[in-house]
Amino acid sequence: MQYPLPYLCLAFCLGIIAAAYLKITFYVLCLLALLFLILSVFFVRQPKKINVSIGLTIFFLGAALLRNFQVLPNHHIAKLLISKGEVVSIIGVIVNDPICQVGKTSFILKAEKLEIGQICQEACGNVLVRIFQSKELAYGERLLLGGKLYRPFSFSRGFDFKQYLRHQGIYCILSVKKSSKVKKLSENAGNPVKAFSFQIKHRLREVIVKNLSCFSAGILNALILGDRQDLSPYLLDVLMKLGTIHIIAISGFNVGIVAFIILITLKIAKIHRKPRYILTVLLLVVYCILTGASAPVVRATAMAVILLCAYIFEREVNIYNSLSIATFVILAFNPWQLFEISFQLSFLSVVSIVCFTPKIKSLFPKRLDKIPCLRFLILTFSGSSAAWIGLMPLIAYYFKIFTPITVLVNMLIVPYSALITASGFTLAVVGMIFPAISPAFAATNELFILVLFKIHYFLAGLPGAYFKLPGISFLQILLYYVLLISILLWYDCYVVKYYKEDNNGKDLF
């Protein structure tokens, strides 16, 4: 069996889920993990027993990891904040790319020192800072801020902002008024690789904003750089209703295009194979950082890096194993990501595309594969349907929406947005190197983006394009996936075997 990692990854995820719902202490979990680890050592020569003991060790390690993540150091800023909201002075370093809007700047600050009243203490932990003025701030700057520190609110209905922030490791918000002090103490206090990545991001953003209209620049910034703050809520709503919001979420699709562009460029520059792959790996890591390193991007980057390393070391690559490694990497860093919508949608879409696309494709006559246009249509239909089959219940659960036309819309929009992403990157790079010729590329991008959204608005206006649903329960989702897996297993075990037997080992078509 060449897929051990998915099973181990599943055990790890189940451990994390168990720890989230069961109240078992860290020491008990570690003790159980140690027990099964010792058993694994004894069973090292017994295949069946060691598989079970390793699986259980990983299960309890996953649970222990989540429990450990819930424990904060004694000098964590959340523990130093005693009452509901206090006026404080705080010194810390900006650890992300600040978002600057009209009259408001927000960023994440890694706290170093805290002053509450007369008490000054060393502190740690991340704080979400909101400054009610436009300030030119950058990653890695050490600031002295004064404002009101409070815990995030948890609203009774809808999106749980408090839980969302907690899952990102943020337990407090600092609100800094216009009149409060904001003093820059030093610069370059952050990671130099991250600082370099953000510099490239700002340069690319400048080029895009300089060459395109506000609307088009906002969309291209979202497609290429992961900056969604300039997108209108109406546009986001249309994309969600048609099931194409994933095109503005940086994910494997974008990482794949970036990897392809880098490889082609380096190939044209006559760089040898191994240095070409190594350089691509490094540039993909930079791209991952500059887009904000969200779970889908990290997943895609990890899988791309594994694929390229497999080429470098001349090893076979397996998509299930690489997906599992990406899962381990993300969850080891932050196990709460397992409960985030973006993580679930990202991983489930890859799994369903990989599992179902070949099966849906096999339903079509093989003779149609000889015609390139039809082959392309069958492939896009199979991929789009596969993703829809895997994600439909989750989308219905989280967004309470059902889009019957999403398969056809995605067949049209996904390849087209690949074209826009590629042309957007071209504009960004040309704008940096040869700004004099960028207007031509800018005009092309404007046209492409205009057509994309005319199509969206037209399709969203069609009767029956989407339906709002009442809430569906978690049990219904579970039943759906159990049924889906059963159908998949039945197909693999009986349908394929039956057709091969019936046709003397030949495929049906």
């Binding site: 904060l72 000054c120 060393e122």
Partner: protein, 110 residues
């Protein structure tokens, strides 16, 4: 289920052991982390480092304007090595009187 070779089993057991040890150490460090009081919150931390401060940061010091900030940066470029507030008296525009007024805003390094 899945079939691991003996070598793979040993590697996995080794990695899991390291992970478990790291997890326990991290937990103990967090639980035992001390609360450390600081007595000079606004002093050293809000002081400007003459070796790294850019023009905007120098201008934020009361008594230093844009031209003086540029002269400090030029002086820094011409004299590599750490600069203390005492060296500022060599810069045009900073008299002994002005130096006394602004020196408390700068970080003194030993």
């Amino acid at each position: 289920m899945f079939d691991l070779t003996q070598q793979e089993r040993k590697v996995i057991i080794f990695l899991l052991s390291l992970f478990l040890i790291g997890l326990i150490v991290d937990f103990i460090v967090k639980k035992a982390s001390p609360l450390k009081n600081i007595f000079n919150f606004s002093n050293d931390s809000s002081k400007v480092d003459l070796d790294t401060a850019d023009k905007d940061l120098l201008i934020s010091v009361p008594g230093i304007g844009p031209k003086l900030a540029e002269r400090i940066i030029e002086y820094r470029a011409q004299h590599p090595g750490p600069i203390s507030s005492r060296d500022l008296k060599n810069i045009k525009g900073i008299s002994a009187h002005r130096l006394e007024k602004i020196r408390d805003n700068f970080l003194e390094k030993e």
